[in-house]
């Protein structure tokens, strides 16, 4: 099993996976995530929910950005930047498999 990575190190080469400890409910396109380890709830908007459902642990963010650019149009670099931001945020919240939040004093 690979070593966990910090949320801040997530880049285009990273293949995010939904945390196994996270239970997902989708209502009208928006996601409610239950972190069963921390007993915390998270609310995702429609865009973030679509991405969350694509996080299969095999597809890198580079690949996702290319696919989304092909399907929806838009600059792949800009799309990748957004994906990295969202992924780092989800990682910082402890929702991604194999990602540990980096604390300020770890930097």
């Amino acid at each position: 099993m690979p070593d966990p990575v910090s949320d801040r190190s997530i880049d285009g080469r990273f293949a995010p996976a939904r945390g196994e400890h996270v239970h997902t409910v989708v209502l009208d396109g928006e996601g409610v995530l239950l972190d069963e380890q921390e007993n915390r709830l998270h609310l995702l908007n429609v865009s973030a929910t679509l991405l969350w459902q694509l996080y299969d642990g095999a597809t890198t963010l580079d690949e996702l950005a290319t696919d989304l650019s092909t399907e929806l149009g838009g600059d792949p670099a800009a799309i990748l930047a957004d994906l990295v931001t969202i992924s780092r945020h989800l990682g910082a919240e402890g929702l991604l498999e194999g990602v540990v939040p980096e604390r300020e004093d770890d930097a």
Partner: protein, 284 residues
């Protein structure tokens, strides 16, 4: 003289009150009179009220409240003990119900329930009382018990608990102390639903509206739609013991939210809030 009340059922919890003070026992039983009477059995909790009486004027000087012989509270005024008893009852309802219980007021119309989850001090009991007075049927002002795997609600028609801040809205509901007992002004009113309106208690009903109220002094009363996902998060925050069974609870709440129209309600005026909910339930 000892007063032995009939056994009553609060959702799935049964209890029977025996009071050393006859007038108090009768008074409390009238408060909880909307709870169904049942046959006592081995699972019925025995509640006891013990009072010390002044030899000079035969007025009670102090009260003790016990459940199955264990003291749960005491006080110098009957309303203090009644409040403790109601709070104890609330806790027992949550513990004994096998499904999810949400901290919410609730009323119904034509079998369709308006569930109003809210934090303490948010005005949900006041709003619930106003709606019952306006003709809605009373389900509860404290705990909404959902039947597992469904949107059905088992009513918990406890006495409504009104804090001093809302008394001016309901002057006709000011309770009298137990007969023959001189009492100082009460800290909280416990109001039997029959006092508000005859035949006010709801039967089993189905959740169809989720309204999250918040009293804001001086604000314009406004009903604003919210997404079901947002409503699910808010409903979970207002679910008793959610963290103890979080995934199962969330799945149960999802069923409820999917069946409901969801709104936030800013309450500046009780009458306007009642009108908003009346319009909401008429339109659906």
């Amino acid at each position: 003289m000892v007063h032995v009340a009939p056994a009553r059922r609060a959702v799935s919890y049964t209890f029977r009150v025996t009071s050393e003070h006859d007038a108090f026992g009768a008074w409390f039983d009238a408060l909880v009179g909307a709870l169904p009477i049942v046959d006592a059995d081995d699972d019925t909790a025995e509640w006891s009220i013990v009072s010390a009486v002044s030899a000079a004027d035969e007025q009670p000087t102090s009260w003790r409240f016990l459940v199955d012989g264990e003291e749960r509270g005491s006080g110098q005024a009957p309303d203090q003990v009644a409040t403790t008893m109601i709070q104890t009852l609330n806790g027992q309802v949550v513990q004994h119900w096998p499904g999810v219980v949400c901290h919410a007021g609730c009323v119904s119309v034509d079998g369709r329930a308006v569930v109003m989850p809210a934090d303490p001090e948010s005005g949900k009991s006041t709003l619930t009382c106003g709606l019952v007075r306006a003709g809605f049927d009373y389900v509860t002002d404290e705990g909404v018990a959902f039947v597992a795997g469904s949107t059905q609600i088992e009513p918990y028609p406890k006495p409504l608990s009104l804090d001093p801040g809302s008394w001016f809205l309901f002057p006709e509901l000011e309770p009298e102390p137990p007969e023959g007992i001189v009492a100082d002004e009460m800290a909280q009113w416990q109001v039997a639903p029959a006092t508000i309106r005859r035949a006010a208690v709801s039967g089993p009903c189905d959740a169809r509206f989720l309204v999250f109220p918040e009293y804001v002094e001086g604000a314009d009363t406004e009903l604003v739609p919210m997404s079901r996902a947002e409503a699910l998060v808010e409903l979970a925050k207002n679910t008793f013991e959610f963290n103890q069974h979080s995934r199962a609870s969330l799945d149960e709440l999802e069923l409820v939210v999917r069946a409901c129209v969801c709104h936030r309600l800013t309450v500046g005026s009780l009458d306007d809030a009642v009108d908003c909910i009346r319009e909401l339930t008429r339109g659906a």
